[in-house]
């Protein structure tokens, strides 16, 4: 399952860019390419497994120190190149997401992986605020700190409507252990409590997703799958260019108004009391 999932990122990077390698000097785990999509060129980024990584705890495709700082460097390079461009001309950034988690390692903690992850989230968010359309395409797993580092700061999150696509705060086994449940109970609970669910259809009810995409073969994309996904990305880029830059737009969807009532109420009351304080 994890092997299959980790192949998806590579497969989709190759399908969308026709390439499949890191830039010179980058670690083998971060693929990046500037390629045409629709009328424009976009920067594509993907974190992939690298069995030869010098950091043992990232070899299965986790986001570690080198991955996070490389993502940040590539994104900032694009921002610098486009600094003088008007918003309508800023290069879009497409994060292809298939990450099982952040790296769980002692080396990483010692060298401050929290700052590396922050630097990457900073770069993606700063690019979005500067007017670069930032799109996340979730083709497999998007878990926890891995997703915070790579993808979650996007204007638009696109995901496949497929059981192999999982967006969650923690993988099932660990979440079950920490909340003192069996994996089966946890899965059952997900059907009743939407934010706990591992099902992408339930995730869609949170109102954060821009669009759920239907593809026939998420592991080995067909030409028609590729066309569908490219069209969806081009459309999302266009909508991102015209839409608000700030992430609080995620609270405005119909689904969010239903599922995130408590958060929306807290926000409204805060705005009211702030003026009185």
């Amino acid at each position: 399952m994890s092997e299959q999932a980790s192949l998806r990122g590579k497969a989709w990077f190759q399908a969308l860019t026709g390439k499949g390698q890191p830039q010179t000097g980058d670690p083998g785990s971060v693929w990046s390419a500037n390629e045409k999509i629709g009328p424009q060129t976009a920067l594509f980024l993907c974190v992939v497994p690298n069995l030869e990584s010098r950091f043992p705890c990232v070899r299965d495709g986790q986001v570690g120190l080198e991955e996070a700082y490389t993502l940040a460097a590539r994104v900032r390079e694009t921002m610098d190149a486009d600094r003088k461009q008007p918003c309508s001309q800023k290069r879009p950034i497409v994060a292809i997401v298939d990450v099982k988690s952040q790296a769980y390692g002692r080396r990483e903690e010692t060298a401050g992986i929290f700052l590396a992850a922050a630097a990457s989230a900073d770069a993606y968010a700063s690019a979005r605020m500067a007017g670069h359309p930032v799109i996340a395409l979730v083709v497999g797993q998007a878990l926890s700190g891995g997703f915070l580092t790579h993808g979650y700061q996007s204007n638009c999150v696109l995901a496949f409507d497929d059981p192999g696509v999982i967006i969650h705060a923690m993988h099932k086994e660990a979440a079950a252990r920490i909340t003192r449940r069996s994996v089966k109970d946890l899965e059952q609970l997900g059907h009743e409590i939407v934010p706990m669910s591992y099902d992408i259809q339930d995730y869609a009810k949170l109102g954060i997703l821009h669009e759920l995409l239907h593809v026939d073969s998420p592991v080995k994309p067909t030409q028609s799958d590729i066309d569908t996904v490219k069209q969806a990305i081009v459309k999302a880029i266009d909508e991102a260019r015209r839409g608000p830059l700030h992430l609080n737009v995620r609270l405005l969807s119909d689904a969010a108004k239903e599922t995130r009532k408590a958060g929306i109420a807290a926000r409204a009351l805060m705005e009211q009391q702030w003026l009185e304080a």
Binding site: E109, L115, L148
Partner: protein
Amino acid sequence: MNQATLIPEFVKRRSFIELTGRSRAQSLFDEGTAWRELVGPFDRIESPWLPMQGVAPQSDDGCIVIKGRIAGKPAVVISLEGAFQGGSIGEVSGAKMTAALDLAARDSSAGNSTAAVLLLETGGVRLQEANLGLAAIAEVISSLLVLREHAPVITVVAGTVGCFGGMALTAGLSSYVVMTRGARLGLNGPEVIEQESGIEEFDSSDRALAWAIHGGEQRVGMGLADFLAEDSVEQIASAVRKYVAAGKPAQHRSEQVRLYRGRIAALDASRQIDPLKLRQEWTTSRQKQGAQ
């Protein structure tokens, strides 16, 4: 010798970490000035997800937001109560945090600079609200970055919970970070690493190792945090005042990608990294940089 001199400084000191999250927040405002708690416990906006799982909610959802004045300027303090669900971020606590940061950003961009002080005692996402907790952290990050352009964001990690998980990114994005010796800051705590990668990777019963890596002295020593405070209300409040008055730094740590990427490239990853040696190396490179 009169008796007063025999009373050691640490006995007279007012402890910060013995205070609740609310009292910690209240202790930071300028003396004699008015402050007000926003969306407080009497507003009763609680987590709708905890009771569904047999967990008692709390009327402030473990997040205390107070607006007042620090160093003579408007400021908002956002404090996570470590004693409630480990200070974890859920839908409501996350929304309170994001809303307060957005409002501070709105005032600041209108010329009324309003700093945010984050008191982070948290393990990160509240797993009972899993995906809404993770989404909230992404939104907190986004809002913090907008505020940071206009006014300083100061994180205090005092202990005893420490600051872990997604909220460690929030600390990493802050303009200034204040820690005590007993506080810890990292993405994954020792227990999580032991569970995921094995006891040979991290023995979570080894407390000396945990503090050698995540502890306040190490984080300040290696330049990943800015000030090492005693567990004292006066010291922490005075550090917060100093950073509010200083305003935003010329460049934030999380923007210094080239510096840190170079440091990671220089690491010997063939074995575990000695925390003390790393601290010395990074301190030396910082001094060299400063001399240039």
